[in-house]
Amino acid sequence: MCDTCGCGTPSPRTIELNQRVIAGNAASAEHNRAHFAAHEIFAVNLMGTPGAGKTALLEATIRRWRESGRIAVIEGDQATDRDSARIRAAGAAACQIETGLGCHLDAAQIHHALHRLELGDRDMLFIENVGNLVCPALFDLGERLRVVVTSTAEGADKPLKYPPMFRAAHIVVLNKCDLIPHVPFNFDEWTDYVLAVNPHTRIIKASALSGEGMGEWLSQLDGLRQSFLYATGSSA
């Protein structure tokens, strides 16, 4: 019965939820996470600007890992399979997602890609997100680690302009450090901005081209992977 006039029309009922909603498909993200844990695959969501050197960093990582074939990569781009071809040439398994109009990857796309990718004896899965400092920050893909790749050529103020992305990062890799003598980039200023947005993140100075910082990057990955394996209950 209506509370207002008794007309017989039931008044709407209010359902209280007070729950946090995540972008995209939360169930798919959890499904992926469980899949990675079951297969003991350390999954890394690699985000960053187009041209920051995400693929170059992956190529350099694959070549230095104890066995390149133990790395698998899901590549996300609006168009072309150029990046997955580069990854295969470097020696790892790759699967390309062309997002078309999509500006980010979501967990359901990763789930479908996993059906096309043999995970078998892999140590790590990198998911190279669509080059974009905005949208990918909001989407949980089921990964264990989120890494943002940015470069000295982009200038020092990107962390302030795109806070959610830098806030999401467990590790921020500053690529193209070999260019520092040639570009107007102030490292201390950039570091202040990164830590203003995300006081807990780890910063790695690197150059995928020269190899600078690759040792630290690999040892961070290896350490975090060991923690993941320990947490999932398997021996390293």
């Binding site: 209010t14 909603v21 995540i22 972008a23 909001l138 302030l160």
Partner: protein
């Protein structure tokens, strides 16, 4: 335009809580933190488009914008701010540890039987 996916997540959360007898949803209340990176107008548009043909079609989306809260990494005080990043009102330091404000919360929804 990630708001389309945000709206999809919102719709899925509502649908999980709908009962077979709920004919339609007339109102949805959400809170969005200022540091969430969600454009409210885009969310409204996306919500309307996504809801078409569902029991949520035509529901009013009521959005409460929430300020964000940070702990200053310089002097340690808690402070509120609007937008993505703020300055500590006490020592002037930029940023800090974000405690809240990056969230989208589905508060309530109202259902009608007819």
């Amino acid at each position: 335009m990630h708001e389309l996916s945000v709206a999809r997540g919102l719709l899925a959360a509502i649908e999980r809580n709908l009962k077979p007898g709920d004919a339609r949803v007339v109102r949805v209340s959400v809170s969005v933190g200022s540091a969430a990176g969600i454009a409210l107008d885009s969310l409204r548009l996306a919500f309307r488009v996504i809801a078409e043909g569902t029991r949520i079609d035509g529901a009013e989306l009521s959005i409460t914008a929430l300020p964000a809260r940070s702990r200053c990494t310089g002097c340690g005080i808690l402070f509120e701010f609007g937008g993505m990043i703020g300055h500590c009102p006490s020592c002037g330091r930029l940023g800090g540890e974000l405690l809240s404000g990056d969230e989208l919360i589905l508060r309530t929804f109202e259902v009608a039987d007819v």
